[in-house]
């Protein structure tokens, strides 16, 4: 049987992750693309870390940080009266951190691809930095933005290890579709697992395809 609650939760988690992370990623990516801050390599390595770290290791550290014995988890509990780990908010925080490279890297490459003199031509044409960002940089970085959104969204939908470590398996709160598929397989319910896996595959494919199509269209126009 299809776990609609888990699917809704996954879509909501992916949507919120994209919504919150992309604006921050634009700022970070743009800064890294157009500046050479001291320790840029270290910053870039930190951003790429979630790509190479095993999800269980990353999830473990987050679980510790979000737990009641750490100031972060403790502070959250004191404020909201519930644990940060094993909550949707905790899951969202983990998802945001996990997806940093997927959001930042395509955007950074896209901003880096804008020739310096195109931005300078905009300034010399009288465009303020903000107008240059809106009317020149963002339209040119649009394929990178689309790529970042697609990768972040579909990666969040499919994330398993970190979700299991930080969120556990609480229906309606932290049980995502990926966890639900795992549950169904454990219970030998291959039909439900198969259906959900196919649906997840379809959603992921459609997300990537639509976003890339939009990027291509915008690029051609």
């Amino acid at each position: 049987m299809m776990d609609w609650t888990a699917l809704r939760l996954s879509l909501s988690l992916a949507g919120w992750t994209v919504f919150i992370l992309l604006p921050l990623a634009i700022i970070a990516a743009r800064f890294l693309a157009f500046n050479r801050p001291r320790g840029k390599n270290v910053i870039e390595a930190l951003i790429a870390l979630p790509l190479v770290l095993p999800p269980t290791v990353f999830g473990y550290y987050l679980l510790v940080a979000f737990g009641p014995h750490h100031w972060l988890g403790n502070g959250y509990q004191a404020l909201f009266g519930r644990t940060f780990a094993f909550s949707f908010e905790g899951l969202l925080a983990a998802s945001l951190l996990m997806n940093i490279p997927f959001a930042v890297q395509p955007l950074q490459r896209a901003f880096e691809a804008i020739p310096a003199n195109v931005r300078e031509a905009a300034w010399c044409s009288g465009l303020s930095r903000w107008r240059t960002f809106r009317q020149i940089e963002m339209p040119l970085a649009w394929p990178g933005l689309a790529g970042a959104a697609a990768l972040t969204f579909s990666h969040t939908l499919g994330e398993f290890g970190v979700v299991l470590m930080v969120g556990g398996n609480i229906p309606g709160e932290t049980k995502t579709i990926a966890i639900s598929i795992y549950d169904r397989v454990q219970a030998f319910d291959d039909v439900a697992a198969g259906k959900m896996a196919a649906l997840l595959l379809l959603i992921s494919f459609l997300t990537v395809a639509v976003v890339f199509m939009l990027a291509e269209k915008r690029h051609d126009s």
Binding site: W123, C124, G126, L140
Partner: protein, 373 residues
């Protein structure tokens, strides 16, 4: 042309030791076209970028149209300077069509009005009907025109052109030269053209400033610069090869000559009393000013500075023939000459032939010997 550069034109003084050494002084009046000429790395583009506010120089002053753009206390942003800048590769906005590329720079509010003005500028640069094309759909020459239209649409008080003809083929370039010459008759702002091509600068500029290692060496009219460079360094930078050492043997004020001894051969130059008799000088003659013996000279000119020798090398380059002439009295010191292909044919110019050349005294320029060359 307005001569009160202080009030309407551009006055520039820039200096810094690093990262790129600069010691530059420029002046350009309203409506005047000043070309910055120098080899790669001489600081031409750095100066242009400093004028636009894209590069900050350590010390100096830039004022334009009576307003101070840069000094020890002021540094206006590129947006505040009202500069029209045509970049070397044009830097058009690839996602916008030609009309929007230009419209974006139009200061007036309202999109419809901006597009209307943009169309008018496109028409001015002979691109009417091309407004809806994207940069990728335009040829090199058309892109250059869009870039120029965009720079002018800004209503600039200073127009900067950074090697704007380097990325187009020769035919297009010649057409663009013509168009720029016509267009600038109506432009009343100072125009700075950066180029490494002296011929281009001679054709288009009212004055030329020669730069070398970030230093302005000489600013002059194209003709004076080519015929009378202030020193050997300038002469070398602008490509002169016929630079020789001689001794001053006499001054003849009554005839208007200074007489030199060059490897025993007498050479008469225009009177130049600043060099005393007995002193060493460098003399120069542009390669295009050397006459083959058969050539008809204007009435009243004697054969001056006749030298006999052998042609050692002839190279036809388009409409001209470049040749190396070895004088009989000093074959180890070749004189380089350039004649039109027509004249060369007429004179039977060929490798190995014996020939006489002559040089007008007024075309021979004397300079102090430079220790650096």
């Amino acid at each position: 042309m307005t001569h009160n550069t202080q009030e309407t034109g551009l006055v520039v003084r820039l200096s810094q030791a690093e990262p790129i050494p600069l010691a530059a002084e420029l002046q350009c009046g309203a409506g005047e076209l000043l070309a910055l000429v120098g080899p790669s790395g001489s600081g031409k583009t750095t100066i242009l970028r400093a004028l636009a506010g894209l590069t900050r120089i350590k010390q100096g002053k830039i004022s334009c149209a009576g307003e101070i753009w840069f000094d020890s206390t002021v540094c206006l942003s590129p947006q505040q300077r009202r500069v029209g800048y045509v970049f070397q590769d044009y830097a058009l906005f690839p996602h916008l069509n030609a009309q929007d590329n230009v419209a974006l720079a139009v200061p007036s509010p309202g999109k419809a009005e901006q597009r209307f003005i943009a169309d008018a500028w496109l028409e001015r640069v002979h691109l009417a009907g091309f407004g809806k094309r994207y940069p990728a759909e335009l040829s090199g020459g058309q892109r250059q025109r869009v870039a120029l239209a965009r720079a002018l649409a800004r209503e600039p008080v200073l127009l900067l052109l950074d090697e704007p003809f380097s990325a187009v083929d020769r035919t297009t370039r010649e057409r663009l030269y013509e168009e720029l010459s016509l267009l600038r008759r109506d432009l009343d702002m100072p125009i700075i053209l950066v180029t490494h091509d002296l011929g281009e600068a001679q054709m288009l500029a009212d004055r030329i400033t020669v730069l070398h290692h970030g230093m302005t060496l000489q600013s002059d009219t194209p003709d004076r610069l080519v015929r009378q460079p202030i020193n050997e360094r300038v002469a070398r930078v602008i490509g002169h090869r016929n630079i020789f050492t001689a001794t001053v043997t006499a001054h003849e004020p009554e005839n208007g000559y200074t007489v030199l001894s060059w490897f025993g051969q007498e050479i008469r130059a225009g009177l130049c009393l600043e060099f005393s008799v007995g002193s060493l000088v460098r003399w120069l003659i542009p390669k295009g000013y050397i006459l083959l013996e058969y050539q008809v000279r204007p009435a009243g000119f004697e054969r001056e500075n006749q030298v006999s020798g052998v042609l050692a090398g002839c190279l036809t380059l388009g409409d001209t023939v470049q040749a190396r002439f070895l004088p009989d009295h000093a074959p180890e010191v070749p004189i380089y000459l350039e004649v039109s292909a027509h004249d060369a044919r007429h004179a039977g110019v060929a490798e190995g032939i014996r020939i006489s050349i002559s040089m007008h005294a007024r075309d021979i320029h004397l300079m102090l010997p430079s220790p650096h060359f």
